[in-house]
Amino acid sequence: MVDLKTKNENEKLIIKSPSQVDREASPSIEKSTVFETKNFDLWYGDHHALKDINLSIKENEVSAIIGPSGCGKSTYIKALNRMVELVPSARTTGEIIYRGRNIFDASYEVEELRTRVGMVFQKPNPFPKSIYDNIAYGPRIHGIKNKKILDEIVEKSLRGAAIWDEVKDRLNQNAYGLSGGQQQRICIARCLAIEPDVILMDEPTSALDPISTLKVEELVQELKDNYSIVIVTHNMQQAARISDKTAFFLNGEVVEFDNTDKIFSTPTDQRTEDYISGRFG
């Protein structure tokens, strides 16, 4: 459960003096909310996977979600673009408001939501197609056929994912021929190609070596200027390094959600402190 009191205080603080709260002080006074999760519950069959989640995710921030295995962090991030619906037994109550609309409204087409909210998965999952076709996949499904525009999107996305220089000479080769780290950045580029508003990352570096991990982390920092990012991570150091806000999930509940600095220096909840100091999990 979110410590509502802390959250409210934060909001007040933001209004009073944003620079004190935001490490990366933005010019605007208050960052607008991208995702507002209200009293959200999720079940897989009889298993109550998420319990009364209340979280708000702000624009142009990196929000990290940490917690031990099975705590519901991946489930939560998959709820944000309704990927959980691919699990037949999943059932939800409560609301997740994205830019003013409840994504679970019957009138909200899931395709529309996922066009705005892109996702990078745990295991790099490029299509068994050429690098070019991988990146052009998103624009093509949204109806862009013009070769020149596609070329530009592909280059811009690959540059955005900091992999253009490595692959520019072999765009027609199969993406499977790349290393794991490169494949993951191809997947990030593929996600950027649909020009999303939010990027969800589900443990994007868990299958990568340390150098590739570092590259992806640097990339996340750069992407923050233009996108809002929600990242699930097993790695607490990673959360501490790259995120502005951190939510600690435990047994399907949000134990604590606050500025990353605060979570890692003076957590309010004892369980958070136990977890980040490595006493369990």
């Binding site: 990927m83 691919l86 037949p88 996922r114 996702m119 999952n125 299509f127 068994p128 998103g138 093509r140």
Partner: protein, 292 residues
């Protein structure tokens, strides 16, 4: 305390390696047996049939006289039959597989349907012949036409195509679908752009086997009452026709010895027909495999 004793391991090593060799020989023997049977069959057919295999044989209609008998009507008939079976069975078969794998919710009804499809694959072909006779020949009054026979044969091979296509579709990794859905693709876009391109080689492999079976099938056609000897070519899908296996069956059961050789020549033509058909399908399959 060590649990692995090195002397024992080395002693058993020899037994293990020998067992390995023995099983290799057994599998090799099994393969050789199958190959031997095939080679003997081919040698016999080719030695008997080549004498009658010439242009006249391909260009003549059936006849009472072995030297005048030809396979033209049957060859064209089998070709027409394929023109009906291939699109009908593949469209319905792959469509069903896509529906069951990608759209249908997993519940008792789909389980029941699934079980029945698998069971249908084991139903004798003659039963499908009776079904075709009742439904297509009589109820829809299609007569003993190419269309009636084509539909009957399509039903016969549908279960095989459905199951093969389902396996191929199921083998496409879930992560690929997630990637596509994650970018806002619709189900249809995901199926046509991600699932099918990866599944097509598997779908075609199953379909090739099923279509080959249809080309060689005789029993349902006998039940439908398809004539064995015709003196004209079919002029449309509602026309009467005959097929290669029916024609071969008819020759083979005739008393004159010469007709055995004619039948052998017919078998060679049927095999070449199958090889050509399979080559086309394999070429298409390889084209897709190279692309991905």
């Amino acid at each position: 305390m060590k649990y692995i004793n090195n002397t024992v391991v080395m002693k058993r090593m020899k037994t293990r390696l020998n067992l390995n060799k023995i099983w290799k020989m057994i599998f090799l023997f099994a393969t050789s047996l199958a190959l031997l049977a095939l080679v003997l069959l081919l040698i016999r057919i080719i030695s008997q049939g080549t004498g009658y295999l010439n242009w006249d044989f391909l260009n003549n209609f059936g006849s009472r006289f072995p030297e005048k008998a030809g396979i033209k009507a049957a060859l064209v008939g089998s070709f027409y039959l394929m023109l009906v079976i291939a699109p009908v069975s593949m469209f319905i078969g792959v469509g069903t597989a896509i529906y069951l794998e990608e759209y249908a919710k997993k519940n008792k009804i789909t389980d029941f349907i699934q079980m029945n499809i698998s069971n249908l694959a084991g139903v004798p072909s003659i039963a499908f012949g009776l079904l075709g006779l009742t439904i297509f020949v009589r109820m829809f009054a299609l007569g003993k036409s190419i269309l009636a026979a084509g539909f009957t044969m399509s039903l016969l091979i549908l279960p095989v195509i459905i199951v093969a296509a389902q396996e191929a579709i199921r083998a496409v990794p879930k992560e690929q679908r997630e990637a596509s859905y994650g970018m806002g693709a619709t189900k249809w876009q995901t199926i046509t752009r991600v699932v099918l391109p990866s599944a097509i080689p598997g779908i075609l492999t199953g379909s090739i086997l099923a279509l080959s079976r249809a080309v060689g099938e005789t029993a349902p056609l006998v039940v439908l009452g398809i004539p064995v000897i015709l003196q004209f070519l079919p002029d449309g899908l509602l026309s009467q026709f005959t097929t290669l296996p029916l024609q071969i069956f008819d020759w083979a059961k005739r008393p004159q010895e010469e007709f055995q050789y004619v039948a052998a020549a017919g078998i060679i033509v049927l095999m070449i027909f199958l090889v050509i058909m399979n080559s086309i399908a394999i070429t298409i399959r390889n084209k897709f495999q190279k692309r991905y």
